[in-house]
């Protein structure tokens, strides 16, 4: 019974995605233009009369607009941040109106490379523009207009989602009161970019990729997507967490002297890879990793992040996790330091967690307690 499940999880319950259609042209940072586009989104809770209680949740690499709750027809379809967003949860949907959106260029219903290009009647494929975090935030602002939200009480996200929250405070300082930036970085390191490049190479060298126009061939570059996902997944977990979860446990109890699965970790990675390759668009993956690589708000200010933040008006909660080596605490501290240099209102919490980068998605009483306490003050500020 899905509803019983909901109650036990204290979830927002059954949710339904919606589509916002924009028939105005959208100019990407690259200069490319789309004549129109749509964004798939979900909302939880109720927008209050003064429209002061809206919270935008930005997704990272492989998530979507489906942040919380579940779909009517699938009890397994629990949102990716259901432990964070819901009634009585840190982002309390009894108080806040929460919006999740699939970013432009995505593959979960928003206009993306797999969508039909109205000019050709065929999927965009390789012709879909390279997107940036700036583009996503600009499109999210159009969704805010569509929803009647002039100013977000908060914009939050983990990892790449946190970068969008940061970008919001720079691009639209008047439209955001609080930014919750979790397990993020102000820009990628060479190592981060290197991982992304290997993932992209895995996809683009897959014979089924066809330069990005694989849709016409009735194939998908499954091998590339699988490798990209496996590589990514390794970087999301800490060495300790992986050892704790899988150790050197053998699937069959003994080594098989073959090149099929011996160890549980191999089995796990293959399973994750299969799941991902079934559901994710290769062109979207390429673009999202590029958006990560290109994100660097300091770049236009001579590499000076605090200069980039000089016009920001938001208050910030920055959080990191001790075992995260993809975006280590040091990367979050770069943001904190830049904010303090400009005397911004900021708190920084370094959560002791063993899981690595993925800790931002996990249950952790201290982590969730800090977000809940912070959002409680946000609620008071916006008179809830």
């Amino acid at each position: 019974m899905p509803n019983d499940l909901n109650t036990s999880y204290n979830s927002i319950g059954i949710v339904t995605p919606q589509v916002a259609r924009f028939d105005t042209s959208f100019r990407f940072k690259s200069g490319a233009v789309l004549d129109g586009f749509q964004l798939m989104y979900e909302t939880y809770g109720t927008l209050n009369a003064t429209r002061s209680n809206a919270v935008l949740v930005c997704h990272a690499l492989n998530a979507s607009h489906h942040v919380a709750g579940q779909y009517n027809d699938d009890p397994k379809s629990i949102g990716w941040w259901d432990n964070m967003v819901g009634p009585g949860k840190p982002i309390d949907t009894n108080r806040f109106f929460v919006v999740g959106v699939n970013n432009l260029g995505g593959c979960h219903g928003s206009t993306g490379p797999a969508s039909i290009d109205p000019r050709t009647g065929k999927p965009f494929g390789s012709s879909f523009p390279v997107v940036t975090v700036d583009d996503w935030v600009a499109a999210q602002a159009m969704l805010a207009d569509h929803l009647g939200v002039e100013r977000w009480a908060a914009v939050m996200g983990g990892s790449l989602g946190g970068m969008q929250a940061l970008q919001w405070t720079i691009a639209f300082p008047q439209r955001i009161r609080h930014a919750l930036i979790i397990a993020a970085a102000p820009k990628l390191s060479a190592q981060n970019i290197a991982f992304n490049e290997v993932a992209r190479q895995a996809i683009t060298t897959d014979p089924d990729f066809h330069g990005g126009d694989f849709y016409a061939h009735g194939v998908i570059p499954t091998r590339g997507l699988r490798l990209a996902r496996m590589l990514g997944h390794i970087t999301y977990l800490s060495d300790d967490a992986m050892m704790e979860k899988f150790g050197r446990v053998l699937r069959e109890g003994v080594v098989g002297f073959h090149f099929d699965v011996d160890f549980e970790i191999e089995s796990y990675l293959r399973h994750q890879a299969d799941k991902f390759a079934e559901s994710f668009d290769a062109n979207t993956y390429l673009r999202i990793t590029k958006a990560l690589d290109y994100f660097d708000p300091a770049h236009e200010h001579g590499g000076n992040l605090s200069a980039a933040l000089s016009n920001a008006k938001a208050s910030y909660l920055i959080m990191s996790f001790t075992s995260d080596w993809r975006f280590s605490p040091g990367r979050s501290k770069e943001i904190v330091q830049a904010l303090m240099d400009k005397k911004h209102t900021v708190s920084y919490v370094e959560v002791d967690a063993p899981h690595g980068h993925d800790a931002f998605l996990m249950d952790n009483p201290h982590y969730h307690g800090c977000v809940a306490a912070y959002m409680d003050n946000v609620a008071k500020e916006v008179a809830l």
Partner: protein, 197 residues
């Protein structure tokens, strides 16, 4: 770390200029910063390491930065605060000299408070052959976080060696100001200092 009583807050507040930028090192649950915000319109940050205190600060709406003081204050720009406060934390700091130098680099002035080891009750403990255990020093010798306890005389000599100028001093016992024989009768020392010439 023991929490300060209200008399200490008032003493600190009178040395914090109106609308000052304040950095409170070892800020606990943020109570002092909250007090200074209400009394003096102060803004700034607290620095804290303990997770439960971090949560309390977030609850109190106090800007808190989670970091280990022992790793230094390199994340803070020179002269970026009107006042840097180290309340009841000096005695638990390992690199004391570095800490005081760093405080006076990032702040124009500093306020340092610490329990006076020369307080007569503490001396009585030692005379009786034991390490002091009191309200201000509530730990047993084997579980104390305090590694650098000192007396008023010790601290003032230390400031002299470091070239740190003492601008003001207030010595308290049980909330009362102690002017006569402070190194003997005072349990809590509060200093306002700045980098000297």
């Amino acid at each position: 770390m023991t929490r300060m009583n209200r008399a200490d807050y008032a003493a600190i507040a009178q040395w914090v200029p109106q609308d000052a930028r304040v950095l409170d090192l070892g800020c606990g649950d943020g109570e002092l910063l909250n007090f200074l915000r209400n009394e003096r319109g102060a803004t700034g940050y607290g620095v804290e390491i303990a997770a439960d205190n971090i949560l309390a600060c977030v609850k109190n709406g106090v800007n808190v930065i989670q970091m280990d003081l022992e790793s230094g204050l390199s994340g803070f720009q020179a002269n970026s605060f009107d006042c840097v406060i180290l309340s009841q934390t000096l005695q638990a700091v390992r690199k004391t000299e570095l800490m005081v130098r760093e405080m006076l680099r990032v702040g124009r002035e500093a306020i340092v408070t610490f329990p006076n080891f020369g307080y007569w009750r503490h001396r009585m403990h030692v005379l009786r052959g034991h390490m002091p255990v009191s309200r201000d020093l509530p730990y047993q010798w084997f579980d104390t976080p305090n590694v650098h306890l000192c007396t008023l005389a010790d601290f003032e000599a230390f400031c002299g060696q470091l070239g740190v100028r003492i601008l003001e001093r207030m010595v308290l016992d049980d909330g009362q100001t102690i002017n006569v024989l402070p190194n003997l009768r005072g349990s809590l020392a509060i200093y306002r200092v700045k980098a000297g010439k």
